[in-house]
Symmetry: C2
Subunit: 196 residues, 2 copies
């Protein structure tokens, strides 16, 4: 019992901060927000620091960047570390709250290069994020990469909407799909459990 | 951009390690595994260190304890930190792998005092855990505490089973429900987003 692990952590890859310092495109539109998410996913594949997935969280009105997340499942030693989870975890700890929608805070948008899997669907539900912009569809991810995305609830979009979360789909879908295809052709791992 | 947060972490409450050192009951049966999860959830309410939820992960055959998790959503500053997520995160980082089912590893059981919400449903799907034991039902959680558990996929149990994850339900359900009722009567927070 004395060997019990009591702390766990996630860290962004070394290249993310300098990459963002070079990024001069504004984040005023859904397209621009998604363009950054796709670029981060592409760079994560190039750098071989994780899967082909990334998210950015911005203040919906001011477009200020709050956090970014890239998939670090394999190097981060946890299947939790999808792009959306990393972005939400960093945003909440940066703000010092479990509730990104708490009174007095600006409304937030999460842009993800691909439709959230069932885990991240639920994580967004509890996060306080108010708007989601997605590129590739879940069916694109499964067809182009071989990852299992899991079952979503029936009427998943309606279930978000009833809890105050709106969705834009198919934004820059072709560009988003190109990164997924590139990951597969690179021979990088499909890390669903039991395959390693 | 220079203020971007690049690391986030979760830590078990201070009382967990001494609590486990006092726990002499073996973990050889589903009931005994769940009894520990319920006791951890109860203590988390008593200590006021989070919501009324906890999980334990054990080696299914040897019953060796691998990790425990208690809900630390509010003190941990992240809506991700449900009991199941904390237990999975600690187990994976302790073992140094994203895949608890990787070749050569013993099969694992996760016992949770209450049915996983949709986020944790998905997290278990990707974790490599092979068997889940649950106490209270999702409907018990919603009726007794007021927490929203979110929509699960249709045939969620079948979707787990098709991916090699088996489930035992309603184990020590009455004891599990007592902790949920106690949380509500303590006046502790319901921390779904937008309520704080």
């Amino acid at each position: 019992m004395t060997k019990l692990t009591t702390q766990a952590s996630l860290t962004l890859p070394f290249w993310v901060k300098p990459f963002l310092e070079q990024w001069k495109t504004p984040l005023n539109s859904s397209q621009e927000r998604l363009r950054l998410a796709i670029a981060l996913a592409r760079e994560n594949v190039e750098q071989k620091t994780g899967g082909p997935f990334a998210s950015v969280i911005v203040e919906s009105a001011s477009s200020a960047l709050v956090s970014v997340g890239v998939n670090v499942v394999v190097p981060g030693h946890t299947s939790l570390a999808h792009g959306e989870i990393v972005a939400l975890f960093l945003a909440q700890q940066a703000w010092g709250t479990h509730d990104l929608a708490e009174a007095g805070r600006p409304a937030l948008t999460l842009a993800t290069n691909a439709q959230p899997c069932v885990q991240c669907y639920g994580a967004i539900l509890w996060s306080g994020v108010k708007h989601v912009v997605q590129g590739a569809r879940g069916s694109d991810v499964e067809a182009l990469t071989g990852f299992d995305e899991g079952p979503l609830p029936q009427d998943w979009e309606g279930e978000w909407l009833r809890r105050g979360i709106t969705l834009e789909r198919d934004i820059l879908r072709d560009e988003a799909c190109q990164v997924l295809s590139r990951y597969r052709s690179s021979g990088a791992p499909i890390y669903n459990p039991g395959r390693s």
